[in-house]
């Protein structure tokens, strides 16, 4: 009995020693050199593996950082400038500061302003709906409200608002990884600079129909009236396909466009409330709240003031303009 045990132990140990020796030499022979700095860089990265940098996971990004001569084209949107600074110091290279970015939703067609025209009861997936048909409302460009963006967000920065039916971006948590931008079948998310003092202005609409057609589907659509383009002193706004776009790098946050927009399609975030001239305010002016599309922490979305009479005049003018636009387009066709 005892000899069996002893023999077992001896033979197994012998096999172990032989195998270990072979393995040692094989490992030496086939050794793959890996830069130890990759591990160092990976250690300072956030480890979210979100792919927001364009590389497969944090290790892929770390490898790219080590290989690259300059860091100017590499950026970890999750870690931000601090993270890139520590990557740079680990590698002894120079970090390039980049503006902090944030995802914004370019649709404000909430349930209240965009009436439902039909009911969908298939699979709850935005891409499936988008491939199938125009959606539950009269707008074929707008948010479908099934929350695919929420499901791909790794940072808890998106949530569906049950009242408006639109996703809400949490500015505190958003890392601008771009997952929602890639996922949205309607291409409604855009990464924009956070802006000075977290203030930003953008057109919250992607509808490319003609103005008159849009107004039927949604009350807050950008109708491409060009009013904002005319009022902008910095050439920051361009209208293509009846849809305005504000270039964040040219925009000086003067808010002139916000007050002239007849449909409230231009949103201003984190601005102080406007001063209303007292005399006029009593009679004519009225504060209209912009639908809560984006909230930064606990701050309420800034209220927007508009002069009702002025708006009415603007409205009819716009209508004329739009009609003219459409007729001229018809003749083009």
């Amino acid at each position: 009995m005892s000899t069996t045990v002893i023999f077992t132990i001896i033979s197994l140990s012998a096999i172990g020693i032989i195998a270990a020796t072979i393995l040692y030499f094989v490992a030496q022979k086939f050794k793959v050199f890996e830069d130890p700095r990759i591990d160092d860089v990976e250690a300072v990265l956030p480890g979210a593996n979100c792919g927001g940098c364009g590389f497969p996971g944090c290790r892929g990004f770390a490898e790219a950082c080590v290989k690259a001569e300059e860091l100017d084209k590499l950026f970890c949107p999750v870690g931000g400038n601090d993270c890139m600074a520590s990557v740079a110091s680990t590698l002894g290279k120079e970090a390039v500061m980049q503006e902090p970015m944030l995802a914004v939703l370019r649709c404000s067609g909430s349930h209240a302003v965009r009436p439902q025209t039909n009911k969908y009861d298939g699979a709850e997936n935005c891409t499936i709906v988008s491939n199938l048909y125009a959606g539950e409302t009269g707008c074929q460009f707008g948010c479908l409200g099934l929350g695919e963006c929420v499901s791909v967000c790794n940072f808890d920065a998106l949530a569906m608002d049950p009242v408006s039916g639109l996703p809400v971006v949490d500015a505190e948590n958003c890392t601008a990884c771009g997952a929602c931008v890639e996922q949205c079948p309607r291409d409604l998310f855009e990464l924009r600079p956070k802006g000075k003092k977290d203030r930003r202005i953008f057109v919250s609409c992607r509808n490319m129909d003609k103005g008159s057609a849009k107004k039927i589907g949604c009350e807050v659509a950008c109708i491409g009236c060009q009013k904002c383009v005319k009022v902008c002193d910095f050439d920051a706004i361009v209208v293509t396909n009846f849809n305005a776009y504000i270039d964040p790098h040219k925009c000086k946050l003067c808010r002139k466009c916000v007050s002239v927009c007849p449909t409230n399609a231009i949103h201003e975030i984190n601005f102080p409330e406007r001063k209303i001239k007292a005399a006029k305010a009593d009679e004519k002016a009225k504060a209209i709240k912009v639908t809560g599309v984006e909230k930064a922490g606990e701050k309420e979305v800034t209220a927007k003031t508009t002069n009702i009479n002025k708006e009415a005049v603007v409205d009819s003018k716009i209508k004329e303009k739009v009609d003219n636009d459409t007729t001229s387009d018809k003749s083009k066709n």
Binding site: G122, A123, I128, N333
Partner: protein, 443 residues
């Protein structure tokens, strides 16, 4: 025993309400909307402009590639505008809108009723004429017909199959066509045989249309055309299933019918080919079934392309009060109509109006692994697995599991006891995988 395809399939209630209704000519509407993309492939290029006077049968948009088709006017009148107009999915598509004035036909079109059965054109001339006439597969897939008739090098066509199966419940347009236009259909088949250079043709018809089988047998004067009755089974109208049922040949995965020497055309296409070749008439009208359990007058209409769907519904007694869903096509493969004024296109084989209680899906429950979806899949795929792989975005595995072979017949979703949206996800998987494949090919 009657022939059918061996694998899978379901047999939903047939509900062919309009089977005994003769084809009526629908009055021409006041204005028509003719989309420039009514087929699979590249959208056509408009050749008319606002204000142009148009005759019936005049070319509106020119084919812009090999896999594309010409579009002709279905009415006479003035082009009002070329604009983006919603189709039945609600998405806006470029269309030519024509205000109808009278009914003046292009003088080259032979409007006589007599059947002309001598085929004077050569093989190449026939294919050219089919291309010029804008003929696409009228079974619903709208694949340009001249492409199917142009046999690629190294392949030979041995047999022509004419699809008169009409396995989709409710729809009866092909059934009525076979009954009322049988002589023309047989001539159309002969033309297609000549174009392909084949010596044999089979017209496959499901056994629930005995009158059509009898009528075609009676008028068929050609021994190389045979008429075969098939056991009723959905989706027998799928070309791969029909080839298997009639010839026992199996189209390989990722292959085309021509790989087994077969070419399949729908009966509607055969009739359109007859009219194009013998009567010089381009494709601008088709037979559409308007049906539904609560519809007061289910019927079959000869409809000009571009007529609003609402005009057909109006003709059949209006939209019933309990309407839950209007479907473009039949209940199995059709898609719900989002915009009722959307035009009838070359692919509209029927409009099915479902009452409210039948038009909702059940609550999605968990998969109970009963494998019914696998059992009914006519291709032999595993729908439950394909759905899960799509949900988990495992597209490589999805491709390995032959998702691209799915014919989207919907038998899996129909049979699932847990009401799982199997086909919805499989379609999504197919779209994504085909994008991946395309990207790989470009590299």
């Amino acid at each position: 025993m009657l022939k059918t395809f061996p694998k899978g399939g379901v047999h939903p209630p047939e509900t062919k309400l309009s089977a005994n209704e003769a084809i009526q000519v629908l009055p021409i509407p006041d204005s028509v909307t003719i989309p420039i993309a009514q087929h699979i492939g590249a959208p056509s290029t408009p050749v008319v402009k606002k204000g142009d006077k148009i005759l019936v049968g005049q070319l509106l948009a020119k084919s812009s590639g090999f896999v594309s088709a010409n579009i002709h006017s279905s009415v006479s009148g003035t082009v009002q505008k070329i604009d983006n107009v919603p189709d039945s999915s609600g998405y806006k598509r470029q269309s030519v809108i024509i205000k109808v004035e009278g009914d003046d036909w292009d003088e080259n079109i032979d409007r006589s009723k007599e059947v002309k059965d001598d085929i004077s054109l050569s093989k190449e001339e026939i294919i050219k004429k089919i291309f010029d006439s804008g003929i696409v597969g009228l079974g619903g897939a709208t694949f340009p017909s001249h492409v199917k008739l142009s046999i690629p090098k190294g392949k030979t066509a041995e047999i022509l199959i004419i699809n008169g199966v009409e396995c989709e419940p409710y729809l009866t347009s092909d059934h009525r066509l076979m009954l009322e236009r049988s002589e023309e259909l047989i001539v159309g088949t002969k033309i297609l045989m000549k174009a392909l250079g084949v010596g044999k043709a089979i017209i496959g018809i499901e056994n629930n249309k005995p009158d059509a089988i009898e009528k075609l047998n009676k008028v068929n004067d050609n021994s190389s055309i045979s008429i075969e009755a098939l056991k009723v089974q959905y989706p027998q109208g799928g070309e791969k299933q029909l080839i298997k049922a009639l010839t026992n040949r199996e189209v390989p995965s990722g292959g085309l019918p021509i790989d087994v020497g077969a070419v399949v055309h729908n009966v509607g296409t055969a009739l359109a080919v007859y009219e194009a070749i013998q009567k010089n008439k381009p494709l601008f009208e088709r037979i559409v079934t308007l049906t539904g359990k609560s519809v007061s007058k289910p019927a079959n209409y000869l409809v000009r392309i571009g007529t609003p769907i609402s005009a057909i519904i109006e003709r059949s007694g209006g939209l019933p009060e309990d309407t839950g869903k209007v479907i473009n096509g039949g209940p199995m493969m059709g898609k719900a109509v989002n915009f009722l004024d959307a035009p009838v296109t070359k692919g509209t084989s029927g409009i099915t109006i479902m009452p409210d209680e039948e038009s909702h899906r059940g609550i999605i429950k968990d998969c109970i692994r009963c494998a019914r979806c696998t059992q009914v899949c006519p291709i032999g795929l595993e729908p439950y697995l394909l759905m899960t792989l799509t949900e988990k975005s495992l597209f490589e595995r999805l491709e390995k599991n032959d998702v691209m072979d799915c014919i989207e017949c919907g038998s899996c979703s129909y049979t699932c006891p847990s009401d799982r949206p199997l086909l919805d996800y499989i379609r999504l998987g197919k779209v994504t995988v085909s994008k991946i494949i395309r990207a790989r090919r470009q590299q």
